[in-house]
């Protein structure tokens, strides 16, 4: 009773062979990832999020083929038309098809999200891992550098980088990547600090495993859950940041379509032509929401001790 409550570790009792072998709890140990995905599938919000993300990927890849019209097909006869059968999302002040522009812009958003978060993840995890694992001066130097980056307001830092490198998609991606690096460094370091104190890490050291092996095999997998969650959340915020940068005219340059830029252009028409801002805004909203839902669900599911998301939620409530 003192160490294990009923309902804790299960152990089905069977007549034990004289080897002293003990009974085993239910549940096979095959493929943790597959089981996690299966569990994810039983969680409706996660399924909805996954579907939206899959759609986004399809649109991102095939947006220009799916688009009913060219993104820059100006039609002065059909300016600012409300949504209709011909133009389901309406047209903008130059008569361009909003649906087509929203679809094509998905690629930009996705690209910015993936590349910038990829940069942040690679740099941030490396920094956090080294700082947290080795502590000492490495920790001090690396994390102070991260603190400096962290101290800047996100957009201000991005604006500064864009100011130096000049506006454009690539600069936007680098800027957003730099902005999110300290977050990944911090999440990683915090995780490493706690995992490093675990007995199983000491056990790995005790069998003579190298630092690299311990970091790769024991530390990283055990902090994967917060990192994956942080990644999905950051993807959402990176897309928002890109929208903000484009909104400020510092990201994707016209006439190329981008959700943030479209939102910016539509702000003058809020009262007359709501669809200009509504559809790109809705696209941003849905994308961010989908990443968040999936990220949340992954967090619950990636723990090998949990079975399903809903079970995980029940047990923590």
């Amino acid at each position: 009773m003192s160490r294990r409550e009923p309902g804790g570790t299960p152990a089905r009792v069977q007549p034990a062979p004289d080897t002293g072998a003990e009974p085993v709890g239910p549940g096979g140990g095959d493929g943790g990832l597959r089981r996690a995905l299966a569990a994810l599938w039983r969680d409706p919000p996660a399924v909805a999020g996954t579907v939206v993300l899959l759609l986004l990927v399809v649109v991102g890849v095939a947006g220009s083929w799916l688009a009913p019209a060219g993104v820059n097909d100006v039609d002065v006869d059909r300016m600012l038309q409300p949504p209709s059968g011909e133009h389901p999302f309406g047209t903008d002040e130059l008569g361009r098809d909003v649906l087509s522009r929203v679809l094509v812009a998905a690629r930009v958003s996705l690209q910015v999200g993936l590349v910038s978060v990829g940069i942040a993840l690679a740099v941030g995890v490396t920094v956090g891992l080294l700082a947290g694992y080795y502590r000492g001066w490495a920790d001090a130097v690396l994390m102070r550098a991260m603190d400096v980056l962290f101290a800047f307001p996100v957009l201000l830092l991005a604006v500064a980088i864009v100011a130096v490198l000049g506006p454009g998609l690539l600069t936007a991606m680098v800027a957003i990547g730099v902005v999110y690096t300290p977050i990944f460094a911090r999440v990683t370091r915090a995780g490493v600090l706690s995992v490093r104190e675990q007995v199983f890490v000491r056990a790995a050291i005790s069998i003579g495993a190298s630092d690299l092996r311990i970091m790769r095999r024991h530390v990283l997998p055990n902090i994967a859950a917060p990192l994956i969650v942080q990644t999905s959340l950051s993807l959402a915020f990176a897309i928002l940041s890109e929208a903000a940068l484009s909104f400020l005219g510092l990201g994707v340059q016209p006439p190329a379509p981008a959700w943030g830029r479209m939102l910016y252009d539509g702000r003058g028409f809020v009262t007359d032509a709501w669809w200009l801002g509504f559809f790109p805004g809705a696209a941003i909203f849905l994308t961010v929401l989908a990443f968040n839902l999936v990220g949340d669900a992954l967090r619950d599911v990636l723990d090998p001790r949990q079975l399903t998301v809903s079970e995980a939620r029940r047990s923590t409530s």
Binding site: M1, P6, G7, R12, A16, E22, L307
Partner: protein
């Protein structure tokens, strides 16, 4: 001297878990009288702690508790939750395994000891503080007048457990529930705490329920003992009778599996397998799958009743006398 303090009848606790309903405690009866020590012994998951927590209304919210519990003659299951809480606070003191987590780290030890006096005895803050000093002295904390203002982290493990005992005794309870109170302590400290509780019991006439997995501690503290396995009492009786003539194969195996310094060397008669899963208990005797006596199909299918083998000594087995095969 034989005034009944706590009596439990037909107590059953079912826990809702994510893998289904776990029968943590199934039909447990026992009682403890003033000045007596009743020991509940068992392994993790045997239901020993849960039965006591449930009886005093401290079971987790997911637990379904049935049965009757009488505290000082009052039926606890029949009174309002408020009344139950008052009765518990006034008449029952608790000592848990880990003294560090039983104490609030941001309050002084004295405040925590005094809290019960203010709450249940209507003392003023000043009186309660004086009482706290008295109590710390009672449990053998040196220079209590200074220590009363110390924080838990300034105490050693043994001192912390003494402070927790002082807290438990603040309202001069009729019943002290000690749930593995020495498990987290060193043996020399354990000996101090065991001695302290025995001494306090002699002086105050408190009834003690001592929950432990250590048969040695049981032998030292208990008047009556109940051995639990898989949520049920498998053996119960006066401590001398149970240790001198254990009737249940589990009790016998447990006593035999302890390394005995007097007979070192050779393999220990170990019990195969692990304690049962409360989610998946056998229909019959829960110990049957691991039992060295290993009776017959009857053991698997039919629950053996608690049968009296000597006055007050009852055993839940079909084969109380049979030796291991």
């Amino acid at each position: 001297m034989t005034r009944e303090v706590l009596a439990i009848e037909e107590l059953t606790v079912t826990l809702g878990t994510r893998r289904g309903a776990a029968r943590a405690v199934a039909g447990v009866d026992w009682s403890v009288a003033a000045g007596q020590t009743f020991a509940l012994v068992g392994e993790s998951g045997s239901g020993k702690s849960m039965s006591v927590l449930a009886a005093t209304g401290l079971a987790p919210r997911t637990a379904r508790v049935t049965g009757r519990v009488r505290l000082l003659g009052e039926e606890l299951t029949a009174v309002s939750p408020q009344r139950r809480r008052r009765l518990r606070g006034r008449h029952v003191g608790f000592v848990f395994q880990d003294p560090m987590t039983s104490l609030n780290p941001v309050l002084t030890v004295g405040r925590q000891v005094a809290e019960g006096c203010e709450e249940h005895l209507g003392m003023t803050r000043r009186q309660a503080r004086d009482r706290a000093v008295e109590l710390l002295d009672l449990v053998g904390i040196p220079s209590p007048a200074q220590r009363v203002d110390a924080y838990p982290h300034q105490f050693s493990g043994g001192m912390r457990q003494r402070a927790v005992i002082a807290m438990a005794l603040a309202c001069e309870p009729d019943l002290l529930i000690a749930d593995e109170p020495t498990t987290a302590l060193d043996v020399t400290t354990q000996a101090q705490i065991v001695e302290l509780v025995a001494d306090l019991q002699r002086r105050l006439g408190t009834a003690v329920v001592w929950i432990t997995h250590d048969l040695g501690v049981v032998a030292g503290v208990a008047d009556t003992v109940a051995v639990m396995y898989g949520g049920r009492i498998v053996e119960q009786g006066p401590v001398d009778a149970v240790f001198a003539a254990p009737g249940h194969p589990y009790t016998r195996a447990l006593l035999a599996a302890r390394p005995d310094p007097a007979h070192a060397g050779g393999d220990l008669p170990a019990i195969d397998g692990s304690p049962p899963n409360p989610l998946d208990l056998p229909a019959g005797c829960a110990f049957w799958p691991r039992c060295p006596v290993r009776g017959d199909a009857r053991c698997a299918d039919e629950l053996p009743p608690l049968t009296e083998v000597a006055p007050g000594h009852r055993v839940r087995t079909f084969y109380p006398a049979r030796e291991a095969r």
